[in-house]
Symmetry: D3
Subunit: 250 residues, 6 copies
Amino acid sequence: MTGQPIRILIANVNTTASMTETIRAQAAAYASPGTEVIGLTPAFGAESVEGNFESYLAAVAVMDAVVRYDGPYDAVIQAGYGEHGREGLQELLDVPVVDITEAAAQMAMLVGRSYSVVTTLDRAVPQIEDRLKLAGLLDRCASVRASGLSVLELEKDPDRAVEAIVEQALTAVEGDRAEVICLGCGGMAGLDRRIKEATGVPVVDGVAAAVTLAESLVRLGLTTSKVRTYATPRPKVITGWPITRAGENS
Amino acid sequence: MTGQPIRILIANVNTTASMTETIRAQAAAYASPGTEVIGLTPAFGAESVEGNFESYLAAVAVMDAVVRYDGPYDAVIQAGYGEHGREGLQELLDVPVVDITEAAAQMAMLVGRSYSVVTTLDRAVPQIEDRLKLAGLLDRCASVRASGLSVLELEKDPDRAVEAIVEQALTAVEGDRAEVICLGCGGMAGLDRRIKEATGVPVVDGVAAAVTLAESLVRLGLTTSKVRTYATPRPKVITGWPITRAGENS
Amino acid sequence: MTGQPIRILIANVNTTASMTETIRAQAAAYASPGTEVIGLTPAFGAESVEGNFESYLAAVAVMDAVVRYDGPYDAVIQAGYGEHGREGLQELLDVPVVDITEAAAQMAMLVGRSYSVVTTLDRAVPQIEDRLKLAGLLDRCASVRASGLSVLELEKDPDRAVEAIVEQALTAVEGDRAEVICLGCGGMAGLDRRIKEATGVPVVDGVAAAVTLAESLVRLGLTTSKVRTYATPRPKVITGWPITRAGENS
Amino acid sequence: MTGQPIRILIANVNTTASMTETIRAQAAAYASPGTEVIGLTPAFGAESVEGNFESYLAAVAVMDAVVRYDGPYDAVIQAGYGEHGREGLQELLDVPVVDITEAAAQMAMLVGRSYSVVTTLDRAVPQIEDRLKLAGLLDRCASVRASGLSVLELEKDPDRAVEAIVEQALTAVEGDRAEVICLGCGGMAGLDRRIKEATGVPVVDGVAAAVTLAESLVRLGLTTSKVRTYATPRPKVITGWPITRAGENS
Amino acid sequence: MTGQPIRILIANVNTTASMTETIRAQAAAYASPGTEVIGLTPAFGAESVEGNFESYLAAVAVMDAVVRYDGPYDAVIQAGYGEHGREGLQELLDVPVVDITEAAAQMAMLVGRSYSVVTTLDRAVPQIEDRLKLAGLLDRCASVRASGLSVLELEKDPDRAVEAIVEQALTAVEGDRAEVICLGCGGMAGLDRRIKEATGVPVVDGVAAAVTLAESLVRLGLTTSKVRTYATPRPKVITGWPITRAGENS
Amino acid sequence: MTGQPIRILIANVNTTASMTETIRAQAAAYASPGTEVIGLTPAFGAESVEGNFESYLAAVAVMDAVVRYDGPYDAVIQAGYGEHGREGLQELLDVPVVDITEAAAQMAMLVGRSYSVVTTLDRAVPQIEDRLKLAGLLDRCASVRASGLSVLELEKDPDRAVEAIVEQALTAVEGDRAEVICLGCGGMAGLDRRIKEATGVPVVDGVAAAVTLAESLVRLGLTTSKVRTYATPRPKVITGWPITRAGENS
């Protein structure tokens, strides 16, 4: 609607700063001209998030990083695939919050009747299914499949990653009848083109999808509904919050 | 990604040209700078679409209008709320096709846990529910409610429309626990602000939502998956197609 | 209830007149003594319907053919498997309308706990699933499977058709745990006996099922509810309807 | 298909012989010319079945009555609304078995988008819902409502019954958005016309519906699938079966 | 809560008294110190229950045995996997009634995200699925699988039973993604340890689970809700009940 | 199985130590003789948990408190109603983890066909629904209702709490057709008796239910499945964990 530049915070869920930069760059590549994308790295938590314990920790660490960020911004992206925490951010903020898991699924549903997610480890599968179920986006999900590579292995060896992802993607398309593939890990940003070539179906990267949705929400003037589920927290005594105090790590 | 301007066709589902212009203008208002929006009016069908017979006719009339359009375009929006036909367009075209029913629901789900649709007549309710069910977007739909006003009444008397919509929207928020309202008729474009003021919850207009999603898909380089459901029609004898022949009405 | 003969219109969804006659004859073979079955062929559309574009066209072409038919009739059967349009006919008519997709599923559910559909091409599968979902009959559907043969191939080579259908039917019974097979194409009429022999489970032909259900509705005095979803279309300006004008093709 | 007369057993679920006769007559009234309808009354159980204990007893008593019946028959109807037992009969018999709960729902789904059941007592509601859920027919059920009258009260005072049923039926149509009403008790046979007049929507009587479906199955040559769920019981020692011995009551 | 000993009736569903004793002993082994477990054998029905006919008979035979038992008791366990009848007992009694099918599923859901049931014959699978569906416990059920052994074969050859169960359990864990295995037959009591060793996942025996749940309900002072579904049967004429008369078999 | 005493940790989700003691005492009151119950209070977080932000914080604070506890224990209870975190504990521990939300629902399902939860504030409703959905226990949930009282108001004025809960419980029983009421807040422990008296239906307190389930799991020898979803976290660098360091608050 307006010509003013949009500022988007994109929060990595793990503490590996190089990943934050990869994710930020991927978002920036798909952002509109003039949109500024700022990467945030949590001050505590796992170097790579795999499983519920680390994911819950990340949920709090992302909230911690966002509330401590003191610049202006128009939207927040949580760049973890299948991770906890989006609802908490929505309570704390008025600006829109977009989770890459949901962003990818939404875009996939616009270009195919069913989609599959190819993620990292087998243990990530149930979490992603649960997040999609709560998001009301599981109905057209054909399957969530694991490539068997951990987040760090993915980052270290992109060729092996492509191979492992393509294998699962082809099984999803032929066996599970998926028509679109979502890349189920923030760290897969940038692999979409090669996987699309190998499978012949559209491939959605969640970070890229999320940045266009975040911009869309800002342009539409839509902010999080505060009427019930995401109402601002009530005033009360909260001990030890934010977790990271001034002068501490970060 | 690129600096080149995007061209979006937006197809009205009824034959009332003034509505095509309203819808086109609404889309253009939310489009990015440089995006061109072209309105299409079907050459046959109902002056306003209410019910399955008219909607099936519109599905074919929209396909007829789109295949006869000979300029270039990057995406198509079908601007009927709860109408048939999106899957047919997806088979005929490679570029993305966005239905305003689904676009509104997707945006709503990003800013609230549940949404309600407020539409025109009671008879439109089941159709909208069915389209959302097939789209896999019904899970977080709190209700679809009818304002009791027909499409043409809506257009004639916007004040009465706002009043009737607000009444249903408030019932949706308080009784059905909706946290966002979707305006369930292409002809409601432009009423969102007043309804948001009256209800205090985000209000999503499908046309505006669709234009941002269409642009997003183009920027992401995503096109309709051709692997199964939306594969290009097989070559065969088709009699009387397109319906509208050269030199005929339109 | 009464001794008067029943007249049933059965509408083919494609423009191949020989198929209309096959379907009509199949219906007549299962009709009660005294029931008259009249076949209708659409005046426009595909020679064989496979996919959404052709199916939407067929929906309108069937409505066009039915509204132009000027004899008396007591019920209408739409003889396309998984095709669009039944709801439109229900709005236009007071007499009962039976879709063969639903008729087959209902009969199957009376003689087994779960059923599978064996249809033509892979691309038909999602459409059939969607129609069964909207009809509320998907819950006990074990699977929809494609024989890989097109509608016209089926008609040309019944022996090859039987072989391909039996292969999928056996997989459905053993792998998907189906207990009944529905023949998922109007053009499969007459193959039921051979497939039953080969699989050992009941095999339901939709056309045969539909004619008994249409007669049942007439005998029970049941007509389409006009209270909401299938209410008669409201009076309004409709351009170019019916599509086929006097003196034109047909 | 053939001209030979069909013989249908219709089993009352309670021990009140006058009800058996009412049900039998209702079935006969909707049967084709030449079809013979034979009523069966259980030799033990409740005078009217209301609740699970009595319903389980009826399930066994109906099986007991059917296996002791030594004449020929082509199909069996179980004339209890929401009662247990149909699956047991399907194991014991090869001929088709039709439950009036399911028959009514199927017919209702052919003439409206959603249906409600109006039954006797509040305690019958969950049982009917459960039976429809297992039958895969709950998806389009708008509601199951209780008139508050017991089975015996219904039979004694039909005028009061009509009044109480109409009240619930109108609430179902207006509040629950039902488009068809199913009469949820074998003892409501014959009330359909008056309730249709009062509500303006189609009203389905399960007994009438079941007799047309049973005839349809016979004409289509369909018998219960024996491949898994309804396979014939394996040979084994069964003590005290049938329950009713020669020379005993009945 | 109290120091008084709890008395639990555990009803076998078949007439094989040795199985009653096995089941009773298994229950006693997991009962708290001081809890007394009393085994009941039905006076009529199948020597082993496999299928709906035999299961309905068992439902009535178990109710018959329980109402004829004249000692005091605090809870009842129905020890048939996937069998009918629990709701009838709940109407007849005030004390809690626990079905081993549901008890096993509940315990499994506490220690894993999804569970599979390994049962006896293929024909038992649909019944177990149906009972879990009605119990609202099917959502996290990954699969119900048949070992292919009948109830009596299981009892005769425990080694072969373990082997057959382990094979299915491993397929469930690896292929169906189950995280816990439920032993789907009362006669499998005592095999849990060996199957756990072979599969590495928790294995739940329904009888053991049920006895701890029955004790829990008693300690919590919870009894069956009498407000609607499980209300006490209304006073009325019931012929031939109980089935087993004084002086007869049993 | 054994005579050795069981030790159960019960973790309060908020930082109000007096509530920890109330919850611990309630658990101890329902524990078996010899069972020891140890209460844990988080070292950081909200004084009362209401909403997602506070709940995510509590999830991490409970994990933090449990991993820092260095005594032996056999099971852990998380005593927050509808709160996040249970899956994280299940990854970190081998012993069983029981959430009071699920414990209450399971017990309720054993004594009635449907249950309602009465909780504190309206904003807690969606969270409880979501947790029950993920737990696979929502199917038989008739409704989740808010009393309108905050956690602290509940604790301060039990009489007003009972009144507000009874009002919602009666609406649940009569309007939503609930047959059992679950008290949806750890702080409602001890109110069950008065609410049962006022409503006439069984009332389940989650803390009491959880302690019996935790004991049951221990007696059955069941521990959390480590095969996939709740596998132990992989070894990796985790910064700032546990959150609470030696010598800090707590």
